[in-house]
Symmetry: C3
Amino acid sequence: MDNLHDLAARLKKLEDELAIRNLAARFTDAVNERNVDAFRELWTDDAVWEIGPPLQVSAQGIDAIANMMTRLLEPKSLFIQLTHSGVVTFTDEDTAIARFTERERGKGEHDYYENLAIYRDELVRQANGWRFKRRFYEYRYLDTSRFTGAAIPLDPHVHEGVGN
Amino acid sequence: MDNLHDLAARLKKLEDELAIRNLAARFTDAVNERNVDAFRELWTDDAVWEIGPPLQVSAQGIDAIANMMTRLLEPKSLFIQLTHSGVVTFTDEDTAIARFTERERGKGEHDYYENLAIYRDELVRQANGWRFKRRFYEYRYLDTSRFTGAAIPLDPHVHEGVGN
Amino acid sequence: MDNLHDLAARLKKLEDELAIRNLAARFTDAVNERNVDAFRELWTDDAVWEIGPPLQVSAQGIDAIANMMTRLLEPKSLFIQLTHSGVVTFTDEDTAIARFTERERGKGEHDYYENLAIYRDELVRQANGWRFKRRFYEYRYLDTSRFTGAAIPLDPHVHEGVGN
C-alpha cells in the first residue's frame, strides 16, 4: 500500500507546512529579540511588508523592510508580539497563503499600544526555503490608552551561563 | 533498522496530530473571518458544541452549530478568538481528545467580553478527515467590564490585490 | 532520488521538533490543569527551573521543581499560562534550545499578576523522550495592578460525561 515515492510526497507536505509555521514564529522571535539580522532572512528580495489602517506604513525590499522594523521598535521600551494559531493553504507546489492571529503590546516614552490583528501572508518557496513575499497586518482592534505595568529591563547577569 | 511500514506508521502519527491542531486553528480562523461555510466543515454531523458556565449555550448537529455561531457573532462589532498551545492524546486509532488554551475579546453595542478558557475536545477520524465530535468551552476567567480601544472597520480597498 | 534512510532522517527531524513543541504545550497544560504528576514528567532529573527578575525563584531537581509549582499555584484562585509561537534550534543530535513567547494572568487573595515573557529553554533527548534541562522565564512586562473580572469556579457536574 505504501511506497517510497508516496511517503516522500506526504513527508514533504508536512515539512512545507511546518517550515511556513516556523517562518511566522521566527518573525515574532526576531521582533521580540530585536534581532534585525534574523528578521532579514525571512523575506524574498522584493517582499512587501505592510501595516494596515489606521496606522499604515509599508516597505518593499529587504533593506527597506529591515529599516522599517528598526524604526518601529527603536522608540519602544516595551514591544512584544504574540502569534497564535494560523492556517496555511498551498496555492501550488511552491506558493502558499496563510493567516495568523496576532496580538501586540508596546510602550514608548509617551505612547501605549495594544491590538488584535490578522497577518495575511503570501509565501513562496525559494532555493533556500520558504520566504514571505508579502505580509499584511490587518488591525481588528486597537487601543492606545495608557495601561499600567512596566517593561522589565534585561539584566545582563541573568544571561551569563545561559546557552540561549 | 528502518522499514517502509514503520516509516508510514510514524508519518501517519504526525499527520494525524497536525490535522487535529489544524482543525482547532481552522475553527479560530473561521470565527475570526466570520466564515460560516468554513465553520460547518469542522464537525461531525451529530457534533455537540457547548459553551460552559456562566454563559451556557449549546447546539447539536451542524445546522444548529452554524446557527449558534452566527447568533453569537452577529451582535459583536469586535470578536477575536486567540488559540494558544494545546495537547492532543489519541484514545485509539480513530479517536482523540485535546485541550487548547483560549482567550477571546468581544464587544457588542453595549457589552464587553474578555475571557480565558480551555477548549476540551473530542475528535474522530472520518473518511474526509478529523472532525470535532464535541467541543466544550470551559471558562476560567471572565470579565464583562467596559474596556477602552476600538474595533477597526475593515477597509475593502485594502483587500484589493491581496491574494489572501 | 528518495531513499529510505534519507526519509527516516527527515521524519526524525519533524518528530523531534514536534516533540519539543509538545513538551512546552504539556508544561502549559499541566500548569493550567494544576496536574503536578504531568508536570514532573517534563524534566530531566537534575533540571533547573528558574523564574527571572523581578520575581526571582528557582528550583533544581524534579522534587524541588514540583514543590515550586505547587507553592506558586496554590495561593491563586486564577492562574492561566498562554504559550504562543516558539523557535527551536538543534545544537546537536540530542540537544536543542528553544524560545517561547508567554503571557500569564493570575490572581490570589489580594494580589494580581499579568505579564509578558520569554521562556528560554535548554532541552535534551533522553531514552524516554525530550525533556527540559533548563527553563528560564525572562519577564519583559509585569503588571501587578488590580484588574476586573473573576475566576470561574469549576463546576464538577460539567465534567460528568466529558471524556476529557
